[in-house]
Symmetry: C2
Subunit: 200 residues, 2 copies
DNA sequence: GTCTATAGATTGATAGAC
DNA sequence: GTCTATCAATCTATAGAC
């Protein structure tokens, strides 16, 4: 009689937090960071602005929480990609496909958020480290994979971290071009480019 | 006595337009597109919002003019890069350097604007073609250069347009990482990556 | 913990003087 | 062609009821 309500309270709180973050992701991806008002996010979460202020202290707190989520979501996505395929080329293909044609709507949102949050991090020195950490984490994971030879033996550029940096860079830059003009960046083109960076 | 004032009027108008566009570039790069209020842009141009409405009809008109400028500025920059150096590797180096460490403050603004305007173009279907045209133009210019062999003979990936797409993608993606963490992306790393894409 | 109500500032845009 | 004055809408954030 005493433990149930306490647990339920906690669950409700967690649920509200989750709803607010999900709503923030969708609304920010749709209207941009500056265009996503506190009220709009709260309404999309079927809560009120009061709840948002209680959980995150304000808009900037929400953005920081969003940056954290962004970091984790990417790490999980990379992990999943690398486990999926069998040989080097297939791994590059699946990695690119998941990046450029995300399977879920949630993943599609993250692609636009990528640039939205990157811009925010470039302008706000206090959150720059958070975003930098995210990229560093992705690079490290990918570098480990390169070292382990999952993309095939790397005889060309031999530092794994360098290859990882290049792979990420190319995928991001190609995806930007594809968003505006899907025909300009075929899957074959992207995979050929990624292959050129991984080895001879 | 009759032609002087007519010419001066026209010059004054052109000058105001120029000031407004320059101010828009700086303010938008600084605060973002949504954060750049009409008043702030006008004030930075040492004019008033009335002048801005007369020239561009409103904020969206200003953004479209900015998109046009963006297109032209990039075309000029690429042109200048390719004329500058003598051999293939040096051309890649100078192209990357001008992209990642812009010599002028104006050029530095464009790098942040790149993502700001790209996001805007992704969200506003009516301006998507403008941004797509810009990337297509850059690709074409660069592809011509690749065909002409300015980066050395291309034995690897043989379609020039493909190579151009990859080069642009890699530069954009590397520059993003460098903004957050300059140490993570050295010039040598970038040039090595670009070289891997241009040839064998 | 979530709500309503509201304060206080800022926004895009327009009308009319000069 | 550029200005001032102003409107209605929207924003972040807070206070206090429940």
């Amino acid at each position: 009689m005493r433990r149930m309500p306490a647990l339920t309270q906690e669950q409700r709180r967690a649920e509200t937090r989750r709803r607010l973050l999900d709503a923030a992701r969708v609304v920010v991806a749709d209207r941009g960071l500056a265009g996503a008002s506190v009220d709009a996010v709260a309404e999309a979460a079927e809560r009120t602005s009061g709840a948002l202020y209680d959980h995150f202290g304000g808009k900037s707190g929400l953005v920081i929480a969003l940056l954290d989520e962004w970091k984790d979501a990417t790490a999980r996505a990379i992990q999943a990609d690398l486990a999926e395929a069998v040989d080097g080329r297939a791994r590059l293909e699946s990695m690119w496909r998941n990046f450029a044609e995300p399977p879920s709507e949630e993943a599609a949102d993250w692609t636009l958020l990528e640039h939205e949050l990157w811009l925010h991090a470039c302008r706000q020195p206090e959150v720059t480290p958070l975003a930098a950490q995210r990229y560093a984490g992705i690079r490290r994971r990918l570098a480990d994979a390169v070292s382990a030879g999952v993309f095939g033996p790397s005889d060309g550029i031999d530092d794994a971290e360098v290859v990882a940096t290049l792979l990420i860079g190319l995928m991001v830059g190609l995806e930007m071009q594809r968003r505006l003009d899907p025909d300009a960046v075929s899957d074959a083109l992207a995979v050929a480019g990624l292959e050129a960076l991984t080895g001879p």
